[in-house]
Amino acid sequence: MEKPKIPVDMILKHLAEQAEVHQIRVQKATDVLLSDLETEIAATPYEVVYEEDRVKLKHYRAVHGAEQTMKTPLLVVYALINRETMLDLQPQRSVVKNFLANGINLYMVDWGYPTYKDKFLTIDDHVNGYMDDMVNFVMEREKVEQINLMGICMGGTFCVIYSALHPHKIKNLVTTVCPTNFDTRQGLLHIWMKWLDVDKMIDTFGNMPGDLMNFGFLLLNPARLMIDKYIGFLENMDNKPFVENFVRMEKWIFDSPDVPGETFRQFIKDLYQKNLLIENRLVIGGRHVDLGKVTMPMLNIYAQYDHLVPPEAAAKITDVVGSRDTENVCLDTGHIGIYVSSKTQKEFAPKIINWLKEHEGRYEQAGQDHTENAPDRVHPPAKNISPGVKRSEEPNHAGKKGLFFNDLQGKQGIRKHT
């Protein structure tokens, strides 16, 4: 018998089944939503060890039983957009917990909630002020001469700038979904920021309102972020762990502090609109941000499906920094998924932990001087770096692309693209 073109009977049968499933789901969902939900975020214990204005420095307590295997502390700098609680969103998917369990001595910057009085704070105040003060504090507290620095998104851009201005204080640099090349049309954000009248916006609002930014982020993909996400919730609202995680994510995503006005203005004009950082022309606090001075080992992780910081905006930095030991890692996920998806939990944090462990003490043994005043920087021979790192025989990209790294032209680079 010929198959009917419209299987009305089957469609109706499925509809009837689904109606029944929905009815049961709604009944169960009522119980779930009325029960005690565990939706606490950032639950890993920490201590605030330093405070300056609205900014706090958190130090996470080592996990009981975990041996602190790394002498060099890691300072994580989050973006000024949203909150650092994202790294510790759920107990089972916590980058913080992962780091602690693997012996990392972890510090994290909490930028707090800027108010109207913070509107005059510039990138210089954040990088050369708060960040530098915190780095100095950690170095003094831990009695070390250098620390490891990890930046997230806009915080990563701050870390690159910091590393260029204070290279002698940074042992290893990790950037994750970090925008550094703004001359791209891959992401809508980059297109929109090009024409944004930021002067008018900041003159009107003072600080950049977090809610307005969030609305902008939702507009980047309304079909997924405003419809599909909640349809997904409705389909799983009888599943308690799902609901708990969903609420945690909602708590985080709409917890949006305002961005200090002058910082936002500078970030948009100098970076999004003029692309000064990657072109090695950025000046912060009267000092030239020379990427050639980013000579420490650098791990740069970004996401293939990142709609905020697309690969083109993140990957290029390793080509232009002064360091010879750089590695690009592209993960098969999105901007937020890189930190919270169960799939990348097995890739993201372990990659950073292993990379940091590999680099712990490496250059000390090689006798390398990383200070910004070092006249002749000695790059370690490739064979000493890591058995897993691919050695590239390509000439340095800096010279090829006509950038300003005269001292680096023609050197042999070790770059890994995963």
Binding site: K3, P4, K5, I6, P7, M10, I11, K13, H14, L15, Q18, Y116, K117, K119, F120, L121, D125, G129, L188, I191, W192, W195, L196, D197, K200, M201, D203, T204, F205, G206, L219, L220, N221, P222, A223, R224, I227, D228, I231
Partner: protein, 294 residues
């Protein structure tokens, strides 16, 4: 008896007689000495002053009445009474004419609203309607909010008008923007119909309703992405943001006016104070750092 006799004395004679009588009366009144005295027979000071002022007033009035009783002054006065209704009528007519002209001008302008936007037609409803309205507002209605204001409250009134104007512009821009955001939905529904038709013809209709949803959300996402990259969307988004900022700034100025009467600092005052604190802190930090280096 002649006609003139029947009419009695003429108006001029009557008025002259009246002025003469009044002049005599006030002249005598002014000269009368009934001043109160104190115990020593001296007039009381306060009363003396008022009596003197009264006498001066009477003298002035007497002089005025005498002057007015002169035949030449009487002629002038009577001419005035003859031409006064004419003047009044002329003034009234001019005022009314101006008023009606203004009314006519406004009616004409309202009547012309929309005639400048010939290039758009209302048969292309939806977006065109909004754009047409936006253009009409910008070109025809907006000017009424810019009519100069006068007097003590002119600045306040101007700021209120400005805020209303900016609110109207923002509302219009927002409507256009929201309309654009609605388009992907309309297009995706249309595409879904086509797709279902196609699947029906090929006999591949999914049995699970979720498959239809997945199909639709994917189409919708695609349409949004296309829209977001279009110059038209970017232009509208920019205009909406601009309009929002303009409105907020105008609203802020009205709030400033209102705050002036309350014992709270204005935004400008707070901004100046914050900047001062910021610069001071910065200075102290750099001094601290320099000091610790020493």
């Amino acid at each position: 008896m002649s006609e003139n006799e029947h009419a009695g004395p003429d108006l001029q004679t009557m008025v002259m007689e009246w002025f003469k009588t009044v002049g005599r009366f006030w002249g005598e009144t002014g000269q009368e000495d009934g001043s109160p005295t104190d115990e020593d027979g001296q007039p009381k000071e306060a009363e003396r002053l008022s009596i003197e002022a009264y006498a001066a007033l009477m003298k002035t009035y007497h002089a005025f009445s005498s002057a007015m009783s002169e035949p030449s002054a009487m002629d002038s006065l009577l001419r005035t009474t003859t031409i006064l209704p004419g003047i009044t009528t002329t003034l009234l007519a001019t005022g009314m004419k101006g008023y009606f002209a203004l009314q006519q001008q406004i009616i004409d302008k309202i009547g012309k609203i929309g005639t400048r936007t010939d290039s758009y037609r209302f048969d292309a409803i939806d977006e065109e309607t909004l754009r047409t309205w936006s253009e009409i507002y910008q070109k025809e209605i907006r000017q009424f909010f810019n009519i100069p204001q006068f007097g003590l409250s002119r600045f306040y009134q101007e700021r209120v008008n400005q805020a209303l104007d900016k609110l109207n512009i923002f509302s219009t821009s927002l409507a256009v923007f929201l309309h654009l955001l609605r388009q992907p939905f309309e297009k995706s529904y249309r595409m879904m119909h086509e797709k279902i038709e196609e699947l029906t013809r090929s006999g591949n209709l999914p049995e699970d309703s979720r498959a239809y949803y997945q199909m639709w959300i994917k189409i919708l996402e695609g349409h949004f992405m296309t829209l977001f990259q279009s110059p038209e969307y970017n232009k509208t988004l920019r205009e909406t943001l601009d309009a929002l900022e303009d409105y907020l700034a105008a609203r802020g100025r009205i709030l400033q006016d209102m705050l002036q009467s309350l014992p709270v600092p204005s935004r400008k005052e707070m901004e100046d104070l914050c900047k001062e604190v910021y610069l001071l802190k910065k200075k102290i930090r750099s001094l601290e750092k320099a000091n610790s280096k020493e």
